[in-house]
């Protein structure tokens, strides 16, 4: 019964554009030197508006989504993991990090050319070498962040590296001193960039990039907010392909424009017309942390039961910025009503805004995360929660057992499944599906 469609559905019109933006991102990075540009590497959470001030021809590669791309390419991922282990690094370390290091050690990039077209290796591209970055621009809140690139620099024989410590405590305890600590680091970082690249820094480009950042992070949250609707206009498997743009370059104009001008209007339209992501939507769940990238099929498996995963704190808050609205509900963070007049002021606004990122709060207290998850469970009208006990990412798994207890206390059924976001050797698909079967039965669907 649950397989019968009760809502209309249709494909996302902006889907191919999202794919194109992602592919161009990697191509721009790979080909940057051919055009006289620069390449830099850093994490998905880094303050990426800062290097933007070096020019329009400065292209990043962000470590986590790149490593997730490798994870999707099972053959390459295994090669990377094993190469990293041969170098002596333990296999319980962050699996993104091991994929990334492996890509350097094996000197294999996850993309290449096929008949002149830039495509992923698993689509038959001829392998190209890992394009070495000109500098590293990283942030640090998780134990692995700065250390990740310390090793990258070791492996590459030394790359100029700058890391910003953004671990200044939860946003509800924000002080001027905490903001200043990060702003001063960013100012030092700009000096580092100028010295390293020999380029003059352009504050106007910085201002534009910070503005793009505000737009990307706020409008992404707004699209996720629309998933409160029944039926949900987006399902989590699709959300993974959309949120990723923010992890690639949240300060990029192409990303801000896509979220604001393509995705958001389309999701609004879907809600207005009652278009469902899962036409047989009967029950609604959310997940947590990164999924096992090699096994996204488990989200399609849910659909057999009429179950839609509407997203997660991870997909909503990794990039999206949120705030409590006047009516007490969670909604997209209001873009600051400011005009940038000088570097110090722009950096201050940038930092003050960014420190509210939901996915940074649990680094200080798992209870803050539990509160946000319970809020999502209530406001997005969920029937249950699937928690990925993710062996591959300690940063996002910190406190997950306490999150489980809190969700259960709040009355939400929880299914916990163990796996690994990027090391497929640590995911048992059959067992997870068996767990899903039992969980769906608990939720009253078969």
């Amino acid at each position: 019964m649950e397989q019968e469609a009760i809502y209309p559905t249709e494909k996302l019109k902006c889907w191919n554009k999202a794919k194109d933006i992602r592919m161009k991102f990697y191509q721009d990075y790979a080909e940057a030197h051919d055009k006289g540009g620069l390449r830099w590497a850093g994490g998905a959470w880094t303050f990426d508006a800062i290097p933007a001030g070096l020019g329009d021809d400065v292209y990043p590669i962000t470590s986590e989504p790149y490593s997730a791309t490798i994870a999707f390419d099972k053959e390459l991922s295994l090669e990377c993991m094993e190469a990293t282990e041969v170098k002596g690094y333990p296999r319980d370390l962050c699996s993104y990090m091991r994929n990334y290091w492996g890509s350097i050690i094996t000197d294999k990039f996850a993309f290449g050319y096929k008949d002149g077209e830039f495509v992923p290796r698993f689509q038959g591209a001829k392998p190209i070498s890992f394009p070495k970055p000109d500098f590293i621009w990283q942030d640090h809140i998780c134990c692995s962040h700065a250390k990740w690139y310390q090793v990258v620099s070791d492996l590459e024989g030394g790359i100029p590296m700058y890391t910003v410590d953004n671990a200044v405590g939860p946003s509800n305890e924000l002080t001027e001193s905490k903001i200043k600590y990060i702003v001063e680091q960013l100012k030092d970082g700009i000096k580092f960039l100028e010295k390293t690249t020999g380029r003059d820094y352009d504050d106007e480009l910085l201002f534009k990039a910070i503005w793009n950042h505000f737009v990307s992070t706020s409008t992404w949250a707004e699209s996720c907010e629309l998933n409160k609707a029944i039926p949900a206009p987006l399902d989590e498997k699709s959300i993974y392909s959309l949120y990723v743009l923010g992890t690639l370059q949240k300060s990029g104009k192409q990303v801000a424009d896509f979220y604001e001008k393509d995705l958001l209007p389309e999701v609004k339209d879907r809600v207005k017309r009652g278009i469902a992501a899962v036409p047989n939507e009967h029950v609604r769940v959310m997940s947590d942390t990164q999924p096992p990238w090699s096994f996204l099929s488990i989200f399609r498996y849910l659909e057999k039961f009429g179950c839609v995963s509407i997203g997660s704190l991870y997909t909503f808050g990794l990039i999206g910025q949120w705030e409590v609205k006047k009516d007490g509900t969670w909604g997209a963070k209001t873009i600051p009503d400011v005009e940038f007049s000088n570097r110090d002021q722009a950096l201050y606004e940038y930092v003050k805004y960014e420190l509210h990122k939901p996915e940074w709060q649990h680094f200080y207290s798992c209870h803050l995360k539990s509160d946000m998850m319970i809020r999502i469970a209530k406001e997005w009208k969920l029937n249950g929660v699937m928690l990925h006990y993710n062996r591959g990412c300690e940063g996002l798994t910190v406190g997950i057992a306490e999150n489980r207890l809190a969700l259960l206390d709040a009355g939400f059924p929880v299914m916990a499944f163990e796996g690994n976001n990027a090391d497929e050797r640590e995911f048992d698909e059959a067992r997870t599906k068996a767990k899903i079967n039992a969980f769906m039965e608990t939720l009253g669907v078969k």
Binding site: H140, K147, V168, S365, G395, V398, E402
Partner: protein, 374 residues
């Protein structure tokens, strides 16, 4: 020789309860040696570091995912088993993610009257960390004053700094004695002294240390030194392991542990503002690997220790799943071996497989002693 220290460590709970009774003071349990004990001590609070008990347990499974380090789970077990019921406060200074879970679970399930997550900066190599941490300390000081009802004056802070610095100097003297051809204490014994140091009143510890140093001045042990080893890595209070190695023909002459030299190596230096001076001390201390970036400053320090203490080989241990150390040990191992110092890497759990480790340690010691054999 060190029985008194050992008793303090073994009967840590009795000690703290007696201290409370005698001093009518508050006891603060803390995780991680980045906690600025001087501020607590100045307020008349006894800071005690929470360590595990090395017993298998099953109480933490619902609270901490099994792929986090055994030390953080062992510590939480102590709280859940109500072994620290006498604590008035609980705090942590920001360090690794793993031990943070112990703190957050503990305060929820075993609440105390005062708790604090102190935002110790990670980027200790940034010049801006000093001002930031000083500001954090100002807030913390006010919170402690409110909690204890005692105003902490500069004089109180200076006195606390004096007691703590004396303790650090005495410990450095004790460690210097280990440079002798026949070190007067084993690594296991020194570990007991350091552990006692982390859970007792420093003024009392100072008195005991002075007595110990007097005794050791002309003392030569009747045991063979054997190979001179360094031990380094994660939190380590496994005296059973230390004993096994030292019974196998070796002596640990130096360490790089937070339950060892990293805890006391540098002093608070004089400055105009005591809080700023304390902040500088914690920023400038020998770093935990979680804070040792972008430059790896720990490696030259470790190599220097090896040279000064004439180390023949190093045992690199780590708590299973301890990411910060896992991220450092490959580079450390390489640096040590490049410097001609053989290494043995061992992964620790709450209990260690002593029989298996003994075989590996003996093989390592045989390798180190090979030149003497032939």
């Amino acid at each position: 020789m060190i029985e008194q220290f050992k008793q303090m460590e073994k009967k840590r709970h009795d000690y703290a309860k007696e201290w409370k009774g005698k001093n009518d003071g508050k006891v603060m349990g803390y995780f991680c040696t980045y906690v600025p004990e001087e501020i607590l001590y100045a307020a008349g609070v006894l800071p005690v570091r929470i360590l595990g008990s090395h017993e298998p347990q099953d109480v933490t499974e619902p609270h901490i995912f099994g792929m986090f380090c055994p030390f953080c789970r062992d510590c939480l077990a102590q709280g859940l088993k109500d072994r620290y019921k006498y604590l008035d406060g609980l705090m942590i200074a920001q360090s690794c993610l793993h031990i943070r879970q112990t703190y957050t679970s503990w305060i929820k399930h075993r609440p105390v009257e005062f708790n604090k997550f102190l935002c110790m900066p990670h980027k200790v190599q940034s010049p801006h960390a000093y001002e930031f941490l000083t500001e954090e300390y100002k807030v913390f000081k006010k919170e402690v004053e409110k909690w204890t009802g005692k105003k902490i004056t500069d004089k109180d802070l200076e006195k606390a700094i004096e007691v703590y610095n004396e303790n650090r100097r005495l410990m450095r003297k004790l460690y210097d004695l280990r440079k002798r051809d026949k070190p007067p204490l084993t690594g296991e014994q020194v570990m007991e002294v350091v552990m006692a140091m982390q859970m007792t009143d420093k003024a009392e510890h100072n008195k005991m240390l002075k007595d110990l140093l007097k005794k050791l001045d002309s003392y030569t042990p009747d045991r063979e030194t054997g190979s001179r080893l360094m031990i380094l890595g994660s939190e380590d209070d496994d005296t059973v392991f230390m004993n096994m190695v030292e019974e196998s023909g070796a002596t640990f002459v130096i360490d790089d542990h937070c339950t060892g030299s990293r805890y006391f190596w540098n002093e608070v230096e004089d400055g105009k503002d005591p809080l700023a001076s304390i902040a500088a001390r914690y920023i400038n201390r020998v770093p935990c690997p979680s804070k040792d970036w972008e430059e790896r400053k720990r490696i030259p320090h470790i190599l220097n220790l090896c040279k000064e203490w004439k180390v023949d080989g190093a045992i690199i241990m780590q708590q299973k799943f301890c990411d910060p150390h896992e991220l450092d040990f490959v580079a450390i191992k390489k640096s040590l071996e490049d410097a001609g110092i053989p290494t043995l890497f061992l992964e620790f759990d709450v209990t260690v497989p002593i029989g298996q480790f003994k075989i590996r340690v003996e093989a390592f010691l045989e390798m180190i002693g090979e030149e003497d054999l032939f």
